[in-house]
Symmetry: C3
Subunit: 178 residues, 3 copies
């Protein structure tokens, strides 16, 4: 029997990318990062939506509920501008918020740019799915994933998801001994 791949949802939130006005570079950056660090068999479920709260919520629910992605990462829409509503959509579909993710990502991004405090990135749990907001720029995506990846495999176990193994030379997945 072949083992099914672990599905990871990658949601790009961008008015321009969704209309094809410019190429989505953020979604592929997340996919490349995951390919680089994950040792398990996995498959990306990629979606692109405009900065519309209802469409972001619908995509998150589809990735969590229909596609059974235990990890869903978004990119884009976390700033202060009128159309930036990704954190609001995330909060709306989650039962539990995880404030530590946003705090840690802002702390790390602040080492690179003082405007990191403008990021409203958050994370939360919808049933058995961990949803994490990442920034829009590929460089910041990598910085943020490096910051939170060590805690992601254990989190996914705690919510009843699959066991993720990572390349320990690239990122250390920490699991407390309890």
């Amino acid at each position: 029997m072949t083992e099914l791949p672990v599905k990871i949802g990658i949601l790009t939130v961008s008015d321009r990318a969704s209309r094809g006005i410019y190429d989505d570079k953020s979604g592929p950056a997340i996919e490349a990062y995951m390919t680089d660090v994950l040792l398990i068999k996995w498959a990306a479920v990629k979606m692109i939506v405009p900065d519309e709260q209802a469409q972001i919520e619908a995509a998150l629910m589809q990735l969590a509920d229909d596609e059974s992605c235990h990890l869903i990462v978004t990119t884009g829409g976390t700033g202060p501008a009128l159309r930036d509503v990704t954190p609001e959509a995330t909060e709306m579909v989650c039962e539990k918020m995880m404030p530590g993710f946003g705090e840690q990502m802002r702390t790390v991004s602040l080492q690179f740019v003082p405007t990191a405090i403008l990021s409203r990135q958050t994370a939360g749990i919808r049933r058995q799915s961990l949803i994490i907001n990442l920034p829009g720029s590929p460089k910041a995506i990598r910085e943020c994933l490096d910051a939170v990846m060590p805690a992601i495999p254990y989190c996914i176990e705690l919510i009843g998801g699959p066991f993720l193994t990572v390349d320990e030379e690239k990122v250390t997945a920490f699991r407390p001994k309890t």
Copy 2:
């Protein structure tokens, strides 16, 4: 006239400990810490409840309203798992949230374990009671209390509670001169 002891509520939130399946080590760790650092006459009001939001809320209200505990510390139930609902219960019974406590406890815990970002610990005020969520492990409890104890006596004064004196060789209770 004998001075009445200051009551401190210690609420252990744990399915297993509440059913007697295993010994509560977290509540006693908090009690030992307080005995170690407080110089005032105090008494612990201890409760153990399962990870049920309604029961956690009822216990917090009892400790605050009926027992007049001006300081209430919880242990357990702050993770991402389905049954972890202590922060939600805390938020429900508080009029004011105190985000700085959770931020500071996560920052300090991060020095020890990268999975500290998974903790959803928070704190808040219910009338004249300060409620603080601590983690479940006795080691992490001590690390977190060391991190926030310096601000607790002043906070309790600001909400109209008693004057707490602490052993300044163990922890410094900071009170701004205003």
Copy 3:
């Protein structure tokens, strides 16, 4: 045609200052800071209200909607005491919250006083206005403004406000190249 000055709202929240029982030193401290670092032509719109949530909300709405202040800073009312309700009023009038501001101000204030974790300062966006809660003490006001000022001009641009230029010898206004 003369260029109109950029209006900045300065809202002092204090029972005593609003009754004239003592002089407001916090509002003038903010005004002095802005005069010191801003190179643009600007005008302060100053208000003083008691620690009443409805009055704080009304003042914030007036500064944002009627006075068109794209930056509004409050001082006072962010502690844990019963009458401290400035963060609640701020959240009530904002469509978007900006958690990074509060986190960063508490982190910086913690370098000076351990009771900084008691501050509930937050920030948010109401349409085209950025509202930021500052602490009450003039010394802490300066520390907090130094911490967040580098990100303020870019934030105000992102929400459709005017271009603020600052004295780069005093504070660096960071604008990412995108």
